[in-house]
């Protein structure tokens, strides 16, 4: 399964109707040591590009935006207790939540790995 990225540095991995999301390696790197993660509620309805979670690092508090619209079906409690998981394993253990997609067409607005790498280089 390949990763798709937003301009705000979230990643999303789609499996059927379920999308798993988190923040990119670039995001965790520029935030520095993450000290707090605020997760959405299970069942919450989210809209693409609207705020879904918050991460705090020693430098700043940042909003995390939903890469797709839908309903939150699962959250990763583990990152709440050990926020450093987002630094150590942003794409695997550091996932934030799973969303049941409501509009698959939104995926076409996201970047693939190569496009995202290019985008980050230009920043």
């Amino acid at each position: 399964m390949k990763l798709l990225f937003t301009k705000e540095h979230e990643w999303v991995k789609v499996d059927g109707k379920t999308a798993t999301m988190g923040i990119s390696d670039h995001a965790q790197h520029s935030l520095g040591d993450i000290t707090f993660v605020e997760l959405p509620a299970i069942g919450a309805v989210c809209k693409q590009s609207a705020q879904i979670a918050t991460v705090e690092s020693v430098k700043a508090a940042s909003d995390v935006y939903a890469p797709v619209s839908g309903k939150v079906t699962e959250i990763n409690d583990e990152v709440e207790a050990t926020p450093e998981t987002l630094n150590i394993s942003p794409y695997e253990k550091g996932w934030i939540c799973k969303i049941e997609l409501s509009n698959k067409e939104e995926l076409s607005s996201l970047m693939d790995q190569a496009q995202y790498d290019e985008y980050v280089k230009g920043l």
């Binding site: 000290t35 020693v58 700043a60 940042s62």
Partner: protein, 483 residues
Amino acid sequence: MQLIFERSVKGRRAVKFCDDEKFPENIFPQKYSRAKDADLPEVSELDVIRHYTNLSRRNFSVDTNFYPLGSCTMKYNPKFTEKIASLEGFTQLHPLMPQIFGGGILSQGGLEVIYKSEQLLSEITGMKAFTMQPLAGAHGELTGAMVIAQYHKNNGDRRKYVIVPDSSHGTNPASAVIAGYEVIVIKTDKDGGMDIDEFKSQLNTDVAAVMLTCPNTLGLFNSNIKIICDMAHEVGALMYYDGANLNAILGKVRPGDIGFDIVHLNLHKTFATPHGGGGPGAGPVGVTEKLKKFLPIPRVIQRKDGTYALRYKYPESIGYMAPFLGNFGVILKSYAYIMMLGKQGLIEVSENAVLSTNYIRAKLKKYFYIPYDKICMHEFVISAKTLVERGVRAIDIAKFLIDKGIHPPTIYFPLIVPEAIMIEPTETESKETLDNFIDIMKEISRLAQEDPDKIINTPKTTPVNRLDETKAARDLCIRWHAA
């Protein structure tokens, strides 16, 4: 250094009231007494004096060291204002006095200070009326946001959004949300101003207000500011001026003349009262004619005979924002400061603040990466991005400066500049102090190339060396427990 708790010796006292066994029992109802002892340190008077005197000598303040803390305007606070604030006629004035029957005539001096402060700030900012109630900058923002909400509600207009630029102070969006609005964030364009095209695309009749600071946190004056004000007014939105950066334009530009409807000021920044843990602050709010009736009550009015009184009858007011008309001591110090400097003095404040900043910027541009490198106002932002490959980050530079006797500048803010270091010298520093700072920054630039370890492992001269900030945030422990 030991904690005061660690100096505790059982039974030691500064003052002995009576022998323990003779202490009358049951003078308080049982339900009010503690289940167990309060765990207070048992120390002598001399223990207390030595402990706190030694602690105070480790203090790092604007009275001891240069403090170029961007976004915070840490200017020196002249001591004469402390003297004015300690005059007996003010310190002995009971805060309830003007509210009790017959008390108004006994508190004329206090009321006059508030009334005249409102008038002076109105003149300085081009507003029609001020409230001195808000107790801090963010409290002023909340007051302003509530006035915005009240204005639209009064017009039968339900608006949903407040627009802020991504360079704004974090308190701007927070205040808008507390007042019930959703926030729309506009990106910064390549010149450091709010992106006008994106602003245009987000602006509509659902927007209640636009909150801006000008100059912004990059220290840049937005040359489109008049256009932005006009565009917002066209759709019925109000313009909110965050006065945190007023030090840059004092006596030069009045927000009211540009078209702003609401202004909050930070007396503890621009008008020289202590802050940064030393507070308290004050965040008075000014408004245009049409918003006057929404200001908090009570208002100080002047009667025809020249005396002052409190007036409560403003049915459209947002109500009380603070008890006792605000932080009176702070208002008083700022009033004294404004009266002492006068019009010409205030103009020189902003001129010297801007000159000092541009002096440092011009001297350092060869040595550091300055992302928005042009004539700036009261502050400017360096990025340590180019030094990261040498292992030197903004935080390392900040820590190195402590060893050199300089308070670290604001770092990692504004968020739009990676590895940001935000420098604001203020008008109160001499050329010698600025030159010393410039020399130290040049040394940092050289060390970053030749011997970065010398920067990274600092500070070394302080009572406490480099702290583990991550551990402090993840594993916060601020309470002492007996071993």
